[in-house]
Symmetry: C2
Subunit: 210 residues, 2 copies
DNA sequence: GGAATGAATATTTTTTGAAAAATTCATTTT
DNA sequence: AAAATGAATTTTTCAAAAAATATTCATTCC
């Protein structure tokens, strides 16, 4: 039912391939000119098709913006997943890494490309965009929950509702995931102030009382 | 040096009394019409003075907006202070209460009066307003730190940097203090979802390992 | 002389119509 | 018949003028 592009780099049938082409071209244009300054005509030119034809693949410009943001989310998730693949480290280190990597990735993207702030604002103003955002948040909650389960199994953490702990970790670090809030967060040598301290205090709370 | 109004309900000399009159009238007008739609002429009319005379008491309209917000901050702090006055409860209960009361107060104010969102946005866009906000944040950090010190003394908490723990608690609950973020936070029977769970997990982290 | 006024000036917001862009759709292409 | 086009239509943006508002200040009041 859902017509969203698959994540694989090499899509199969024509329509999916064209959707991906549109997103990749749009991503480049949005980075250069910003979402609002990029016109449908620009995207059409970049993909060598007519403006009208874009509407065969996306409902409207907002839909393209959302798809681009979703692609960023998938990339960020892939990056966090990669961090989790690395061998060493117990659940605590992995949770720390997961959140630090995710926030770090976001901060670097934003610093590297201020145009993304506009896209982030747009996604928050759009109800459908908020759904995409929520899905990304849930991905993070689940990823943390998995590590909590692992920690409970090894005895590093005391028994608890892992699903809920994932939600708690994300909620407690929410200000660090919000582009609009990120502006107000101080940094020291590249690390956002207090983020790791929040995580450490909550991890301490997870450990068995004895 | 600082010419800000005292908190007492009955101010002493003329100038302070007039400043307070202006703020009280402005607060009502802002609630009815919003900050941007309220004109200096409106405020002048409400206080039975000429527009020009307002400038004898406040540098400009922004200054009035900031003073109104600061008044809200002082009221919120007073409310939290009152909560702390109540006899029962150890440090953990008091920290929970402090944060819940503060966030609850903010949420009720916002629900009761959506115009405040505009004022909050304005304060965040103004560098001087951000200073007021920072002071309010520091008040909360210090209030929590005091309870942490008490907890360390009673042995309920393990020894730690109380000052820093105050900062951590505020940082971890920041999304619940931000009017712009508050819109996105779900509520269940009047309580913001997960707020108390964040606090509880961090409190668990403060307790002696045994 | 400090406090207050209100007309004069500076700034910001609103309006308005033209220009640009988004979206649709009758037609053409493959 | 699905895919694509590009001209036609609708919607949004932009810039200039007008109106409203903020701020100043020479003057008046107590």
């Amino acid at each position: 039912m859902n017509a969203t592009a698959k994540q694989s780099a090499e899509p199969q049938d024509g329509a999916e391939r064209i959707r991906l082409e549109i997103i990749e071209a749009s991503m480049v244009l949005f980075q250069h000119y910003g979402f609002s300054k990029t016109t449908m005509a620009d995207i059409a030119r970049a993909t060598s098709m007519s403006p009208g034809n874009l509407y065969r693949y996306y409902k409207n410009k907002q839909d393209i913006g959302r798809a681009v943001v979703e692609r960023y989310f998938r990339m960020s998730e892939a990056q966090m997943e990669t961090g989790l693949m690395l061998p060493g480290g117990g659940p605590a280190e992995r949770i720390r890494g997961l959140i630090s990597d995710g926030v770090g990735h976001l901060m670097r993207e934003m610093a590297h490309n201020p145009r993304l702030v506009e896209l982030a604002d747009f996604i928050c103003s759009d109800p459908e965009g908020m759904i995409s955002l929520q899905q990304h948040v849930e991905w993070k909650e689940k990823a943390i929950a998995k590590e909590v389960v692992r920690g409970i199994q090894t005895g590093e953490f005391k028994p608890c509702d892992a699903e809920q702990v994932g939600q708690i970790f994300v909620a407690a670090t929410r200000a660090y995931w919000m582009p609009m809030a990120l502006i107000h967060i101080r940094q020291e040598d590249g690390k956002p102030v207090l983020l790791e301290d929040i995580i450490d205090l909550m991890l301490a709370g997870l450990r068995p009382s004895k």
